[in-house]
Symmetry: C2
């Protein structure tokens, strides 16, 4: 039994700490409205008088200053409006600019039983759809990219694949009609956790249903229906886009002509799940995340958790050898004493990557899209499992409740998301049923069957040896699985370390090797 | 100008949020004193009524429950004592058990100008020192290990290298006198940030000075002086211990007979700095870290930040292929709906690794020792730079202040630890001065010169191909640098992926390959 005075103190303690304790220097900021924090007073919290001076933490000062600045913006706007789209609010409008929008009033049933009563797909296009509607290319994005793959009249900002798209570019807009969408679950105009739930007019937040990459593809094909495109000339994508691209072919084999999948995979493997897991956990541990409900002022988005998540992600986007060449052991300022805040050049690089991004993307979108990547598995067993759950939940969009609906809705009991009863224990060795990696005897049978719908599709699979997030064995696995399923038109390209040290980011940077391979394949 | 009412609201907002917002279910916990949190009420924060149910977050419930439980323990004990060593306090006593302690009343000057007015080295020994005092082996630990490498009478718990040490074991205690210490900066009995600063009787916390691996080695050799050991038969270590082992030879070439360095390096490279950087940033962003001052109840240690840091670290300790074999895409419970909390088996493994560790090691020790690893560079230039700073700060332990002391104390101005004025910008290509990797033309000249003191020392360098934290090229770099400096007695062993998929952890697990190599070398 805890004594009463202890409980009182406990309540007080639980109430009092601010998410980031204010330092004397920040009191100064608040008065001077300056965020140029350089120095913690030596009397900071009365901690002077030791054998050595108190360390200072400019990186934490900067985070605290941003929280205060966002709160102050939030409060300035909260008196008048809580409208999310208000640009004066603390919550940035995430859109990268003007785009078109397809609004579906037909509901979308998701793989794990969730429902979007209606949804929007943000998209942009380049080039002209020919009269036969046979020259369309659907371009899929990576995790956090918008539909803005290339500049256009409505939005002249350079897009994320600017150099790869255009007249006489690898994706030739003189010849092709290129469509790029923001994925469902994202925050750049397509329906995602930051969107309003039509059932109550509040943001979905973490009431958004779990979705899969297959669900995203289904949304995209609703857009193609709307555009009157029966069959794509090609489906093209890199990273998560490479997964979506393959997935498009598997779900709609008759509607996809050819497939380009760059630095993607046919199923997520544990190392990449682990890297995404830590990003999610770090973000969810930010008190400002508030279990997903941070959209109403004076709440501010979890910019610290987002920054940290992006720093971890950035590590997986490049390669050690590239950093060795670029940064070595250079410190940001050799004349300064070592610090626990960013100090080596590689640290300021990661810090900057996090800074640039922390208010550019919605935290809940990151969680849901990242989770969708983990769930990705084009194996036959997973497809059958998902199909069974979809069938059980079909009534939800048919508007007829089956008699035993309450007991058959799988994956929707909100109290079932528990940790396993016993913590994980180190095991001596994996059983053979766990081992799924490509073995010397050939690719996994489950994947060969899962990809069998693509037996005749011309397919370009491109991998990069220095990629640690989607290692080259994963692209080899795709190519081998396709070939084992009878596909004789698979082109597999693997860029060695002599060609690229840019790791996973190669698809964004290497116009020569990646661009030419795509161009040749689309000819 | 921010309006007055906005500033009032801002002050209120800054005061009000708790580090972890309490959920209704946690109110239940507080009453029932149970931490078996399974379910968030569907009326959680009045967020029912959406198109889909609210997600639940058992992993966050568990963190909140631990915070409350620790606070309650803290409050129960704070009425009587703030003694850190009190086992009833919230701050665990980190020691893994009984050990010996060497207390130096002579101060220690550190590489970057900090001073420990006095210090303690915790150590344990196995075997018997022979009359000639010539059979001593100094065993160095990894980042967070204690001196308890092997069980003994005083502490029968298995040690961290239990199977490698003992009669007729790779490190044969019938023949050798084995000494293992907790490093300076650690928390298992040696002086570190959780120790009391003798100048004011309060914990050092982040008033602890930056230290280097060289400083740790200097502390160890003070212990050897005390034990009357003039020359070691061998210096042995893995991971950070492999770095310390090499460093011992470089600092005290005449006092070290032979050197074993396993899965270590001669200088930290940017990828491992990046991985440690994210761990530090995640930890420092935990509000409970409180800039290092969490030792006094009712404060509780930053267990969330520590858990997250350990999860990131755990990713670097093993290899992707091993996880592919062991976990594949298995979910913890296939019958459950996917969750944003740990879900795949790999996630529960990481979660459990963090859980096990988060109260076992001092957060500030992690920051300082991790930083010391980043600063490690046995190159000649770094040695000269450090020597120059030591010379300038020598007066601090000589007790005679030079005339211009205030201007010559480098690395001690507490206001200099600023971020670089401009954020890092992507550069087209590194200049050749940045590139430090081993080139086809041979190992870096700076490292060859830095290791030149070891030209005649028999040395065993062991690396593991599947190690991503200390990749095999780093051990090759050591071996090549030693050989280029004229050493003809270098044994370099590299375990391929056919021998071990255990990555960095191989040194803890592989008694056959690692153990035999060590045994043969020490013969």
């Amino acid at each position: 039994m805890v004594p009463r005075h202890a409980l009182q103190l406990l309540h007080r303690a639980a109430r009092s700490p601010t998410p980031f304790p204010l330092s004397p220097s920040l009191n100064r900021i608040r008065i001077s409205h300056s965020i140029n924090v350089r120095c913690i007073s030596s009397t900071h919290s009365g901690r002077s008088g030791g054998s050595n001076p108190q360390m200072s933490f400019p990186c934490l000062d900067a985070l605290e200053a941003r929280t205060l600045s966002l709160q102050s913006r939030a409060l300035a706007s909260s008196t008048s409006s809580t409208n999310l789209s208000s640009s004066s609010g603390p919550e940035p409008t995430y859109t990268t600019g003007a785009h078109q929008a397809f609004n579906s009033i037909d509901p979308l049933l998701l793989d794990y039983g969730g429902v979007l009563p209606k949804f929007t797909i943000a998209y942009e296009t380049w080039g002209t759809l020919n009269p036969e509607r046979s020259n369309a290319i659907l371009l899929h994005t990576g995790l956090s990219a918008s539909s803005h793959a290339h500049s256009n009249e409505a939005n002249p900002k350079p897009g994320w694949w600017e150099r790869f798209i255009g007249p006489r570019k690898p994706i030739d807009t003189d010849r092709f009609f290129v469509i790029c969408t923001n994925v469902l679950g994202g925050c750049y105009g397509s329906t995602g956790p930051s969107s309003i739930d039509p059932s109550d007019g509040l943001p979905y937040a973490t009431r958004f249903p779990i979705l899969t990459l297959q669900d995203m593809v289904r949304g995209q094909f609703r857009l193609l229906d709307y555009l009157g495109i029966t069959k794509l000339y090609a489906s093209v994508g890199s990273s998560m886009g490479g997964m979506l691209s393959l997935c498009s072919g598997v779900l709609y084999p008759s509607r996809v002509g050819r497939i380009v999948s760059i630095s993607g995979c046919a199923r997520s493997h544990p190392y990449s799940i682990a890297m995404r897991h830590t990003q999610r956990q770090v973000l969810m541990a930010d008190p400002a995340w508030n279990r997903g409900f941070y959209y109403s002022p004076p709440q501010v988005p979890p910019h610290t958790g987002m920054k940290l998540a992006r720093e971890i992600a950035t590590i997986t986007y490049r390669s050690g050898p590239e950093w060795e060449q670029r940064f070595g052991r250079q410190r940001a300022d050799e004349s300064k004493a070592p610090a626990l805040c960013p100090d080596f050049l590689i640290e300021t690089y990661l810090d900057h990557a996090g800074e640039k991004w922390c208010l550019e993307y919605d935290a809940n979108s990151l969680l849901y899209v990242s989770k969708a990547m983990d769930l990705f598995d084009l194996g036959a067993k997973n497809a059958a499992d998902r199909e069974a759950i979809r069938a059980k939940n079909q009534w939800k969009i048919d508007s007829t409740l089956p008699e035993d609906a309450s007991s058959t809705i799988e994956g929707q009991d909100e109290c079932t998301l528990t940790l396993p009863p016993k913590p994980y224990k180190e095991q001596p060795r994996a059983s053979s049923t766990v081992a799924q990696a490509a073995s010397p005897s050939g690719p996994p049978e489950d994947l060969v069957r899962g990809l069998s719908a693509l037996a005749n599709h011309p397919t370009l699979i491109l991998g990069v040896a220095s990629d640690i997030l989607f290692p080259a064995w994963q692209q080899r696995e795709i190519a081998e699985s396709l070939r084992a399923g009878g596909n004789r038109v698979v082109t597999h390209v693997e860029l060695g370390e002599d060609k690229s040290l840019f790791g996973h980011d190669t698809f964004l940077l290497d116009l020569v090797n990646v661009g030419c391979a795509v161009e040749r394949f689309l000819e």
